[in-house]
Symmetry: C2
């Protein structure tokens, strides 16, 4: 797939639309600098009903809430805003129950549309509410972190955490559309940008060598908030994800390739109690470790694995030392992974930069060796 760079002016002016083709659930991803201010136009175009419930967190609400609400009210919508505290702990059944109560008390009925304005936590939680309140409401994603813009807002996976394991309670609930405004990233902390870049790098590794090269070349410009570079990164990541999701909406085969880096990555997140590492940071480490497994299994050559590691090393990541990693504990976590079936740990592994294979069972000794390999990062 292409990831051409146009001149900055032409790209920043343009609105890009990517279609996620899912039959009756087909929807567009609309990407463009400044589109948040014009949200009302898009809501009208998609015949969204009068009542809109914006779910957001207090930080995002402060930066972007007023712009969105103004645009929606101007377009004639009645806007209810539910602003939650920030943080992963909101992805809980207890938080969901409080939101159900609030929706009932406000008299929200099935004609309403839920809008997620925020990062992955808000998107997952608001999407779960939209999937389950009164057996399902319409849903719109407006992601405001790089991670959500390049990955979690597309594809319909929604859910909350169980105290024993993350994302264990959820559904597939596709949005009516996704609205992505790269300009909102200017207020995003640098660590959140790095975390999002983890998924961007992943799309290059698993599906698109040319895009991987573009990321290698453009990393610094992305962190300098070059609009053309960010738009291109978001657009290509969304295009690649849309292709995978359209091929396999419910993750029965191809969609599993999106989990590259995620088996070990999730175990690292868990080891850090979901506070030491951000999701994308854990995925960056996870990809380094899992690429080594591919190497030891003779699937990929060392030069390509090194190239991935060199790109990862340009991104400042927290040391793994505080996590006190033990491979036995990581293995226990991996056994509870949704991808683990009948006690076999499975992961998709790359055959080259730009090409990945469907998940296969990996021997435990390789997983232990891969964790060992992470000691260079303080593990």
């Amino acid at each position: 797939m292409n990831s051409q760079r146009n001149s900055r002016t032409s790209l920043t002016k343009r609105i890009h639309t990517i279609t996620v083709p899912l039959g009756e659930r087909t929807y567009p991803i609309v990407i463009g600098e400044g589109v948040l201010r014009r949200a009302g136009d898009l809501f009208r175009k998609h015949a969204i009903g009068r009542t809109v419930v914006v779910m957001t967190d207090t930080t995002v609400a402060r930066h972007h809430g007023a712009v969105l609400e103004r645009s929606l009210r101007t377009a004639g919508h009645t806007v209810h805003t539910i602003a939650l505290p920030s943080g992963e702990q909101q992805k809980s059944l207890a938080a969901a129950e409080r939101i159900y109560t609030e929706l009932l008390q406000r008299g929200i009925d099935r004609s309403a549309t839920i809008v997620a304005l925020g990062g992955g936590v808000i998107g997952d939680l608001a999407g779960f509410i939209a999937a389950t309140y009164q057996r399902g409401l319409g849903f719109v994603q407006i992601p405001t972190t790089l991670l959500a813009q390049v990955d979690s807002s597309v594809g319909g996976k929604v859910g909350i955490n169980h105290p024993l394991a993350k994302n264990m309670i959820g559904a597939f609930h596709q949005p009516r559309f996704v609205l992505i405004d790269p300009s909102v990233l200017r207020t995003l902390p640098k660590r959140e940008m790095i975390s999002g870049m983890g998924e961007v790098v992943k799309y290059g590794v698993i599906l698109d060598a040319r895009f991987f090269r573009f990321v290698e070349r453009s990393l610094e410009r992305a962190f300098a908030h070059d609009a053309a570079v960010l738009t291109a990164m978001i657009r290509t990541s969304c295009l690649l994800k849309a292709y995978v999701v359209a091929t396999d909406e419910k993750e029965q085969h191809l969609r599993a390739i999106l989990n590259f880096g995620h088996t070990i990555g999730h175990a690292l997140e868990h080891a850090g109690r979901y506070s030491a590492l951000k999701h994308g940071e854990a995925i960056l480490y996870g990809m380094v470790a899992e690429a080594r497994i591919a190497l030891w299994q003779g699937m990929i050559d060392e030069r390509q694995v090194d190239r991935l590691e060199q790109l990862v090393n340009r991104l400042p990541l927290p040391s793994l030392t505080p996590l006190r990693l033990r491979s036995s504990a990581l293995l226990t976590t991996m056994m509870k992974d949704k991808k683990t079936l009948s006690g076999n740990i499975r992961m998709p592994l790359p055959g080259a930069i730009g090409s990945v294979q469907l998940p296969s069972v990996v021997e435990r000794r390789f997983i232990e060796q891969a964790v060992q390999h992470l000691t260079v990062y303080g593990a």
Copy 2:
């Protein structure tokens, strides 16, 4: 649609299969005396995976649990049984959370299939778990009450209650198949049989005058557990429901006709705190009241309304006196109904026995009059 009576012997020997045509979600309803003992064969035929989680309640488990488990184990399945206390209070987020925890602790993964063995409460709760645990597991319905066999096990509506309103949290999650053994009804209390008959009568009123006549003629034989009569009632009700669900899976138009009797019925259930009246009992009262509204609106003639009331009067129902009905309180409940949109109470109303119209807005004075009409039943 047909509801022919064959001779008792031929019917009881036969297995009836009704297809619910929903594209990739198409599934069969298999109806036959004694099929519970042969569940394992059906699981094999539908390529259900090795791990099966049977969700049931302690009463149903005592009567039918062993028969099902034996058949599944003989067919090579690993069977986990989760038996809950009986009662509507199990349809709660708290109960769902305990079940998620138990599933995680038992290491249940996405390859498992959830089986609901029980009435509507078990079907709704187990279905909600199947819809949301790890973003969705395979699901099989084995309804053991008349109400569940003729109505709630077909169509994929699953969900739990919110303290403020029933069935407010849920999803559409179609089963892989529905297995109905009418012989299990022999252990069902008579009041549960009456409750189920409420939905049977409803199918006659809304869609099939000939079936309504069959119910009028066969009521006593059904309560005497005549296998041929019960099988015919279940089969025709399922056929009619399958037709409606196939036409409108997500209740965007036609499916709303299934709510005849349910707007006032739900309000009566609520007024009785979900203990004074069983669901089908409330629906029987609801149909009587709503048919009067149709009469006052000039949609149906009095002779047909009387015919419905005469059939309902043959079913012993609890007096409404203890509910101390007040139409203002009932109206407040109806305003929170999922069918109520933008403050307008809507309900489907019959034009004749065997023919119903899509929901339309009903004036409050008619609702008040209809509640008044119920005073003959002690209201």
